[in-house]
Amino acid sequence: MTTKLSNAQIAWRAAQDIQDGAYVNLGIGFPEMVAKFKPDGREVIYHTENGILDFGEAPAAGEEDWDLINAGKKAVTLNPGASFFHHADSFAMVRGGHLDVAILGAYEVAENGDLANWSTGPGSVPAVGGAMDLVHGAKRVCVITDHVTKKGEPKLVKKCSLPLTGVGCVTTVYTSLAVIDIVNSRFVLREKLPGMSVEELQAVTGAELVIDGPVKDLIVPEV
């Protein structure tokens, strides 16, 4: 019995909800993994903040063009139909609501959709990048995350304790235990691991899980 999904499995689950023809921005790091699990037959067009639409996989080692990188500064390639544009146009795509999906990591998500994912508080060098823009504008703002912190504390909470990235911006959370939509400032449970009861899930969630419609089994292949 699966007790929790691996990061790859969370990424796989999030990838299944990306529709054919979607324009998608994947945050730096963990969210980049979602691209690996695009279902066959779907065409997904990836946007990167630094000004590329429709980039592809990493080039072979030694084949990099360092003017052809993604927001994480990793070398990428181009798909047929790619385009380049400057940063203001790139964020016009973001802020203007032209992306279908943005997928981000999180430190905390609050039940009203508040997201904290850029700062763990004072003491380090603050760095925000494009996250505060990405949480506004995409039609679906999705978070992929472990359900709890390494210490076992809930990451889905009533109110974020860390500095916010955006207010009321998250639409769906894909966790290691569940899929949860945020509707009218409530966590609405859509899917959970089949071996887990709602009560068990509630016990590791920092705000009320609302049941509104069927709760499906969260079944993900080994990936």
Binding site: G21, I52, L53, S83, F84, F91, M93, R95, G96
Partner: protein, 239 residues
């Protein structure tokens, strides 16, 4: 993902009564004549779409293009900077008879309001029109000792634009100065419909030469050898 429409008629089939329609072009340069005329034909056959708000720099010339929309009685309101032309009768008669509403917007403000809509900027400040009739009723603010007018974004339900090349993913290039408002309108409309002189496979346009990325384009129809408004005008054509 398939953005190709089978015909200009199909491409404009769902424009509805009361829609706000941006139309690319500056005078005849970049005017999507075939898309506009398909809309006029649809109205003649079905009585719809009507009560349109049309956004363009101008307000038609002669009896073709936007002027044909006006003569057909499909337009309730024009948003433009310069409702004059060599033959502005279509608009002038409606306007002086009180049968059409006009929102006059300085040209640079018109361009910036459309871009702002596309870029998710609900409002911005411009020095243009400060202290003039055009600014009446708009918020004023002072920055660094100078006065500016607050302007709002300008969105549309549909944009009709003309491109030179389109690839199947919707990436566009434009011929010469035909681009004018079109790249902005493509960003600002819920649905952007493009007539392209040639449709090519994805990958055939150099990514560095793309002017409008495909994310801003919903529907493409190939119109080879498109009509040019200025040529039609000189030939005295009536749509």
């Amino acid at each position: 993902m398939n953005k190709l429409s089978s015909s200009v008629e199909a491409a404009v089939a769902d424009i509805a009564d009361g829609d706000v329609v941006m139309i690319g072009g500056f005078g005849g340069a970049g005017a999507p004549i075939e898309l506009i005329h398909a809309l006029v034909e649809r109205f003649r056959k079905t009585g719809s779409p009507k009560n349109l708000t049309v956004i363009n720099n101008n307000a038609g010339n002669g009896a073709i293009g936007i002027a044909a929309l006006l003569y057909a009685g499909m337009v309730a309101k024009m948003v433009c900077s310069f409702p004059r032309s060599t033959d502005p009768k279509a608009f002038t008669d409606l306007y002086l008879a009180g049968k059409i509403e006009l929102e006059l917007v300085p040209q640079g403000t018109l361009a910036e309001r459309i871009r702002a809509a596309g870029a998710g900027i609900p409002a911005f400040y411009t020095p243009s029109s400060y202290g003039t009739l055009v600014a009446e009723g708009k918020p004023i603010a002072e920055f660094d000792g100078k006065h500016y007018v607050q302007e709002r974004w300008l969105k549309a339900d549909v944009a009709l634009i003309k491109a030179e090349l389109a690839d199947t993913k919707g990436n566009l290039t434009y011929h010469m100065a035909a681009r004018n408002f079109s790249p902005l309108m493509a960003m600002a409309a819920k649905v952007t419909v493009v007539q392209a002189s040639k449709v090519v496979e994805a990958g055939e346009i150099n990514p560095e030469h793309v002017v409008t990325p495909g994310i801003f384009v919903n529907r493409i129809v190939e119109v080879q050898n498109p009509q040019q408004e200025e040529v039609l005008l000189r030939e005295g054509v009536v749509a």
